[in-house]
Symmetry: C2
């Protein structure tokens, strides 16, 4: 755990250059706008520790899969988020010496990510080997208004000399993914063009054939005035630049404003890329840096208006939650149903692929409550679009008749993970994908979605489960063999409670959804039945038989469900009895020892109780929580939030807060020593959930929102905004009161501590804060 970033309510601040942590700061200071993003890299040359990263949404590369022992059914490739052309580069030479913070003396360094207005700013004084000193300030945005562009204002002021500086803004497309399996470069050059103060380079990905045109255009100002300059164009392999030599005078500022754009063939016709880029840059340059920055601040203000969370009395917590909300908004805007939420967003390339079950289990609840419902809907449609591939994927494994197995990791719907115990067995992901449909419909009331897209996905998933279980003659029940549950510290187990439970729920839900569609739109139902070759009597007959005869492992003696068959044969030790030196076990123990142990990576039975809490009485949840949590090592960033919500439900506020804290500042404090690879984007949504569902006790049932908030002891108050049923609500909780504002959307009512409360539009309701659990 590191503690070098300054606590501030709205900014992430690095004061003094932390050279050794640079890759961490780069991750944390990433900018993104849903279409493109890049890490908080320096514009000028830096020969120290850095991970250069620029990413264009939807542009991926199928890297040849690396595997020791091939298994039938493995994918041929692993789709990787592609590190794309570096558009921020500005080489700075001062009297023939290259400005490089790794080799000069650096003073008064600050790097600030301003989350309120959405920009990254950096200042420093550099003393070169020659003794020359310069003051530099750079400020850049990744525009969320003009979302295929970014702009940088790079200011340099000589302190103790007059002389010559050379500025060379460039675009470098000769980029490699750090995690390329065979050290290959994935881009090839198509065309490039340079001019006086412009440069364009079009690159194409090998195999997938995505084209991305990255362009730059720049202006130079001295003493606040635009200056004429001579740009000397440079071309090299996958590289364009313009070199400008300028005379500078001590204490007079030279500013280079660099506009850049990334236009991809995903959004434009290939033939138009160059012309469109030129026009794009011309347009934003005409708008100018200041206006772009102002528009950016305005747009961010409107986002914060919708989804800010305020915490009083704890600046670190305030900063942490805003950082999470900021990153979620940078990563996915919901405008494009072809996109999804990568585990690292635009902050790094690790884990390849873009889509995990994290999207459905963790991110959708966030977007449901904080964004237009179209955003969540697009995430659902993304899976609908990939249904064909999910059916193919299941076929490869031997399933048939429209059974769909969604991939564990994907870019385009094809599986690109290759550990058999995950790829083939961690099939509970199918459950989360079905649940997200329920979640969306339940939250938004948009039941039409079921007929439009939902049914096909639900049926494909249900068909998979119905084929995946088998009848055990020994048990005279259905069993599900050979699965891996959410707790990946167990592999190839039989009858994972979570998976079995989810399978049955999916079967029930598709029946329920079908009833609704039939009763509201018979014609559409018939159409769907034809499309899916659906045989209601036989298929639902089989589903019903499984629903009624599924086996769930349980211990009557302990009154708990068993994570899987044979769980009680393990040596049952508690995490508190593990020597600190042996943790985290995923670093200290052999895989063999982990598998045999009782230790749980992340919620498994408890993840089920989180999803389906209304199916279990409080005593049952408490028994399971008390049994499993002490064996849980929480070595997944997705674990603490679920436990935080359950602890809140069980009335254990202190533990709920403790779990919240484990994830809330995960990246800011580099808790797991891996932020240098990028931020844990999807777990940020989990943190939001702990706060809103945990501390806020928010639930949605029968088109009504329920709240049962409490304030963690260390905070004076907290407030969160949610959109629900067309209303925008702000729920503020202090240790004494709950203040609910109905900010917009007409009159409505909600349940507070189980009691219905009517809220007129723009009214505020103040109620006494109660010690009560989520109901």
């Amino acid at each position: 755990m590191k503690n070098y970033l300054k606590h501030d309510e709205w900014c992430i601040i690095e004061e003094g250059f932390h050279r050794e942590y640079n890759e961490i700061t780069e991750s944390v200071c990433s900018l993104g706008n849903g279409r493109m993003g890049q890490r908080g890299n320096f514009e000028e040359t830096f020969t120290g520790k850095t991970l250069q990263g620029n990413y264009v949404a939807g542009v991926y590369y199928p890297d040849k899969t690396r595997v020791g022992w091939w298994k039938n059914g493995y994918p041929e490739y692993f789709a990787k988020v592609l590190n794309a052309a570096n558009w921020i580069g500005i080489k700075v030479e001062i009297e023939d010496e290259i400005l490089d913070l790794n080799t000069c003396e650096v003073n008064d360094f600050t790097r600030v990510l301003n989350m309120k207005d959405g920009y990254l700013e950096r200042s420093f004084t550099a003393t070169l080997k020659s003794g020359k000193q310069v003051r530099v300030n750079s400020k850049r945005i990744n525009s969320i208004v003009d979302d295929e562009s970014g702009v940088i204002r790079y200011s340099i002021t000589p302190i103790n000399f007059d002389g010559k500086i050379v500025l060379t803004p460039f675009i470098d497309g000769d980029i490699k993914n750090k995690d390329a399996n065979y050290d290959e470069k994935f881009w090839e050059e198509i065309q490039k063009e340079t001019a006086f103060a412009e440069g364009y380079i079009e690159l194409k990905t090998k195999k997938t054939g995505f084209h991305v045109l990255t362009g730059q255009r720049f202006e130079i100002f001295q003493n606040g005035k635009s200056v004429d300059f001579q740009g000397f164009p440079i071309k090299a392999e996958k590289f364009v630049a313009s070199q400008v030599t300028l005379n500078v005078t001590a204490n007079e500022e030279t500013v280079l404003v660099k506009y850049a754009c990334n236009l991809s063939s995903e959004n434009h016709h290939v033939d138009d890329l160059l012309l469109k880029s030129k026009a794009y840059l011309k347009r934003i340059a005409a708008k100018g840096f200041d206006k772009m920055v102002a528009e950016q601040a305005e747009k961010w203000a409107s986002k914060w208006e919708m989804n800010d969370i305020m915490i009083e009395g704890d600046v670190a917590a305030q900063q942490g939650i805003r950082f999470n909300i900021f990153q979620m908004n940078q990563t996915y805007t919901g405008e494009d149903a072809r996109l999804n939420i990568g585990p690292k967003g635009f902050t790094g390339e690790k884990y390849g692929g873009s889509t995990y079950w994290d999207t459905e289990a963790y991110c959708i609840p966030f977007y449901l409550a904080t964004a237009d419902q179209q955003v969540s809907r697009n995430l659902l449609v993304y899976r609908w679009k990939q249904l064909g591939k999910a059916i193919e994927n299941a076929q490869k494994l031997g399933f048939k008749d429209g059974a769909a197995l969604y991939p564990m990791v994907t870019m385009n719907g094809e599986e690109c993970h290759n550990e058999w115990e995950i790829t083939f067995e961690e099939i509970h992901r199918n459950g989360a994908i079905a649940y997200a449909i329920y979640d969306y419909v339940n939250y938004t009331g948009d039941k039409k979605y079921l007929a439009e897209y939902g049914f096909e996905v639900l049926l494909g998933i249900a068909r998979f489960w119905a084929q995946r279980v088998n009848w055990s003659e020994a048990k005279k029940q259905y069993v599900m063999l050979g699965v891996t549950g959410p707790n990946e510290y167990e592999n190839n187990v039989n009858n994972n409670f979570y998976t079995n439970y989810f399978a049955v729920w999916c079967l029930k839900y598709v029946i329920e959804a079908t009833e609704y569609i039939k009763s509201t739109d018979e014609a559409r139902f018939n159409e769907l039945a034809t499309i899916t070759n659906f045989d209601e009597t036989n298929e639902f007959g089989k589903f019903q038989h499984i629903i009624e005869n599924m086996y769930f492992p349980a211990s009557e003696e302990l009154g708990v469900y068993l994570q899987q068959d044979g769980f009680l044969d393990k040596e049952l030790i508690q995490v508190k009895d593990l020597p600190a030196a042996e943790r985290p076990i995923n670093q200290k123990w052999s895989w063999d020892r982990i598998l045999r142990s009782c230790f749980i990576k992340q919620a498994d039975v408890l993840q089920g109780m989180y999803f389906f809490e209304d199916d279990f009485d409080l005593a049952t949840i408490k028994r399971n929580y008390d049994f499993y949590e002490p064996m849980t090592v929480h070595e997944s960033s997705l674990s603490p939030c679920v436990h935080s919500i359950l602890a809140a439900k069980l009335g254990d506020k202190a533990r709920s807060y403790e779990f919240y804290n484990r994830a809330a500042r995960l990246d800011l404090d580099d808790y797991n020593n891996d932020t240098e690879d990028g931020c844990h984007i999807t777990s940020m949504a989990g943190t939001w959930m702990s706060l809103v569902k945990g501390f806020g006790g928010m639930r949605v049932r029968d088109e009504k929102a329920y709240f049962s908030p409490f304030v963690p002891e260390n905070w004076a108050s907290f407030s969160f905004k949610v959109r629900f049923g067309g209303n925008l609500l702000n729920i503020k909780t202090t240790s004494d009161e709950v203040i609910i504002e109905n900010l917009a959307g007409g009159d409505t009512s909600i349940f507070l501590y189980g009691e219905e409360q009517v809220l007129a539009e723009k009214s505020t309701l103040t109620v006494e804060q109660k010690d009560a659990v989520a109901v």
Copy 2:
């Protein structure tokens, strides 16, 4: 299944060149002498399908492990059998045209592996593009007398022209392993030297630093007379050659005799390699080709004298069993305790590593019965030498206090396999290694071995088991979680019957062995106790508690042991009901489907009943056999032999013969479509076992040999030789009689069909053949 090799009692004969099967024929025609070996490649250029392979025993390379997802405890590298310098090469140019059977017309082609005398001979007539015809005959041996050398007689006769031919005998060390993970070359050049008719090249392996010096020396004869010639030396990277231009006349034979040697730093001081090679070649050249071939035949005759098996009435079977015996003898001679038996011997490099549990479970019984007991003893000592590494290996996984886990695959004692479900979980290999000690002591009566080497290995293994089990509070018994049994179509199962049973047996056997050592050599026992830090009271106390309280999964209803917990939850289907198009399932099914199915790759419960048959009554064995065999797909070459032996024991001669046949000609008929990668050396020992233990019913108990032979219906008779208790016996069985010859070793007695029979030296006993099962 292919059927292009001619059936013959002593030879493997390819008549007519089967270009498309060339790699298969190369595997089958491999020569080896325990120290070096090479595939049946052509001496002259061949641009068609070929897998060039030359191997030097004990010389391996730690290739960087390739893995998709790293697990703690994995080895850093995968030790590979190293493809070494090609010493057989002779480039042949005929009036500027290269002789290449891929580009010319080939007639009267034969390739013959003569197993009686141990040579490979090839003849053909080639018509070149120019119309010129030559007759070629090449004959070579890998000397088992001078076991660091080989010699080739290469004869070429122009048929329809007078002119010039150029012969360039060469050594090519610029060799790559076909299975290199990162396409690297593993050899680097140290020195080379060429002369008039000699050439030497010393290569060193990267990382491991083995030096191998490969040398050649040649003579040329025309019309039977040695001729003077001009050798033009050629050097290139890792390549030496001498080019000789000769005038030839139609129908006059030119013969090149090439002597070659491979001297390795494993057996010689590095500094001596060059000088010793020169002396070596000088010596064997003085001996001459004819004498070397004659000595080879003589030495093979004495081997066959000891271990031939004769089958009357079935040439294909005769050829098959001799091929297996021949390959076993070529692969391992037992002279060097640092060596072991690679799964492909000297016939290919697939599977890397050299030592699997195959050695103990399949090969040791063969060598015990057919070779000096020193041979088996050396195989045991090999494991003793690697005990330290086995202890380290266990430590890496979290075991302590001298617990030893032998690797699944190894060269030098370090694990080099990296599928977690095998590496960490297929731990039953430890059992086979302990069992081999029992097997050896039981067969030879050499109980002193226990005190000398056996105890330490047995204790290390027993300590592992004692730590690997855990007490189940739920069962109030010991359980063993997370293992993979011999049936690798199940992974990470709990309480694999075979493994649990073997663990308990190991604990019992170390106690028994300890009693023996204590009672016979107290001083040595005390010494061993000190070496191993052995605490008899506590350790044996724990062992005894496990022995008495181990859990074995079983079904009372079915009267069978269960392969593992939960086996009866599977859908129990029989192999006969599987559509042919779906087999072999390891090619047609996804791994996921295989794992969930009941189908068994190779004997698992039944492998246990094979090892410990005296622990179970016949009815129990039959019930288990009848339950499991129908679910067994036998997709391991190690499966049929065990079933053959059990079927024989159960009196099912027809099935016993059927199983025998499935493996007996595995490589000759390319049954599994993979002989091109090399021959299945270790399963050849299994075939021998089916015949001797199955049809011959041979068992050893209390220092007595038991036989209960029967003849398969299709055969007139069969006979096999075994060494036992200092005697050499020949047991011939016809449908009427059993004729036992006591060929050497003094008077003795054996049990035949359960009755003791006295055999005077050099006497023959004839007894009526009975329908009886092994007793």
